[in-house]
């Protein structure tokens, strides 16, 4: 392993990393709010909404992400829906992660004490106003730790899209390894993933501290 060899790898790895981060960011931007939509659906008092949301969550959590990826990229064209690799990857990840986030949010919402709903109701809040002003704000601090965990999983899951040929970090490393018959690129890629998850873990600890500030006495 020498540094000048590593330096020659970097442009390709950095390009791959850019794709990885783009997939990561797009997935979060769309799946975090979409998850809330499915959460509200899954606890809705309107039965069709409830069932559609629950079945959706069940399917996307109950089948492998890789299979979903293959289905959307290779399978949907048979039904006349064709996506390029990268959009197919984003779509799959958004749909999949939305289901996971929906479950996290639902657990968070349902962990809020019944007394909160009752207090709001006796003050004249509609169910929606109760959600908006009372339940969801309290849920935020409770779901932050599991959501953060999930996003760390997401960083690693992005590597799965190599399977449909998206040129992200792992794919770039793999290309270099095959070309040079040298596994250094894998090691560098591993270090990059570690660096990302390390920085995220640090950031999340601060975030959690910030959001749990009201729980402590003399916060």
């Amino acid at each position: 392993m020498n540094l000048s060899y590593i330096a020659t790898l970097m442009p390709a790895l950095m390009q791959g990393l850019a794709q990885t981060l783009k997939l990561f960011a797009l997935t979060l931007i769309f799946s975090l709010p979409l998850g809330l939509v499915f959460t509200l659906g899954s606890i809705s008092r309107v039965p069709p909404l409830r069932w559609v949301s629950r079945i959706y969550i069940w399917i996307f959590r109950g089948t492998p992400l890789m299979l979903q990826l293959f289905f959307i990229y290779y399978g949907l064209p048979f039904m006349g829906l064709t996506f390029d690799r990268f959009p197919a990857a984003v779509l799959t990840f958004v749909l999949n992660y939305a289901a996971y986030f929906a479950e996290i949010y639902r657990a968070g919402i349902q962990s809020i004490d019944r007394g909160q709903h009752e207090a709001a109701k006796t003050l004249g809040f509609t169910p929606w106003q109760t959600m908006r002003y009372i339940i969801i704000p309290q849920t935020v601090s409770r779901v932050i730790p599991p959501v953060c965990n999930e996003t760390i999983t997401l960083v690693k899951d992005t590597a799965l899209v190599t399977a449909i040929g998206v040129g992200e970090l792992l794919k770039a490393a793999q290309g270099a390894v095959n070309r040079d018959v040298n596994i250094t690129a894998y090691a560098v890629a591993a270090l990059i993933y570690l660096a990302i998850t390390f920085v995220m873990t640090m950031a999340y600890e601060r975030l959690e501290r910030y959001f749990s500030r009201h729980q402590k006495k003399e916060g």
Binding site: G115, Q116, A119, T122, Q129, K216, K217, G219
Partner: protein
């Protein structure tokens, strides 16, 4: 016209009858205390009045408006929106306070007037400060509930309930979750409200408090009112053996 009229209300949980044909009225300015043993239906009655439970039969009128009525065996509630409007004439204070932990004390008091009643912000704020002062907590306005003692939390909950300017305040064992030394600060606030002729229906296990604050006492047993009277009469001239036994259990 009475502020609250409960007529022939029954409430079933499955096959269990928590309230059996209960009738009572609370007049404007009156403080009425409900006492009785555990499981006798006291909370259930309050919860029916503020629509946390639906009655199985009977009629509830708040300030003359029907929250629920029953005609030839059919229980009828108005539309949700109408229910909310009628129930906002009542305000409930819970045993467990149920303050909103993500909001400061001041915000707990202002959230309903501002977000739900769409009152002018400045007015709502001024009114909330006045209410916090009334319960003796103006200096805790910016604290979060978790930083307060139970007694202080309950006083904020009282201010929060008063902020919707209800016609009748409902208290469900407001001091039961409190240490004895904190009970006094809450009962003092409630006594202050009674002195201002705020209409109240109070469920309590504090006999001294009931005697001093309430104009009238209702005694619940097995989902029925088996005795009632003016405060002095009820405690000092009680004839009913069952109630006498209950009361003697509270003598220190």
């Amino acid at each position: 016209m009475p502020i609250l009229q409960v007529e022939n209300v029954s409430k079933q949980f499955g096959s269990f009858e928590a309230l059996r044909d209960i009738s009572l009225t609370v007049e404007k300015g009156e403080a009425v205390a409900i006492i009785g043993s555990s499981g006798s239906g006291k909370s259930t009655l309050l919860r029916c009045v503020c629509n946390l439970e639906k009655v199985s039969a009977g009629q509830i009128l708040i300030d003359g408006e029907a929250l629920v009525s029953t005609q030839s065996g059919v229980v009828r509630y108005p539309k949700e929106k109408e229910i909310r409007r009628i129930c906002m004439k009542t305000a409930m204070v819970f045993q467990q306070f149920n303050l909103f932990p993500h909001l400061t004390c001041l915000e707990n008091v202002t959230i309903t007037p501002i977000k739900i009643l769409k009152q002018n912000k400045a007015e709502a704020l001024a009114n909330a400060k006045r209410l916090l002062q009334l319960v003796g907590l103006e200096d805790k306005a910016d604290s979060y509930p978790a930083m307060l003692s139970g007694g202080q939390q309950q006083r904020v909950a009282i201010a929060r309930a008063l902020a919707i300017n209800p016609d009748i305040m409902l208290f469900d064992e407001p001091t039961s979750a409190l240490d004895p030394e904190l009970t006094a600060e809450v009962t003092a606030v409630i006594a202050k409200l009674a002195a201002q002729d705020i209409t109240m229906l109070i469920v309590t296990h504090e006999m001294e408090f009931a005697r001093s604050v309430a104009d009238r006492i209702l005694f619940f047993e097995d989902g029925q009112i088996i005795g009632q009277g003016s405060s002095a009469d009820f405690f000092d001239n009680q004839q009913n053996e069952r109630i006498k036994r209950f009361l003697s259990g509270f003598q220190k």
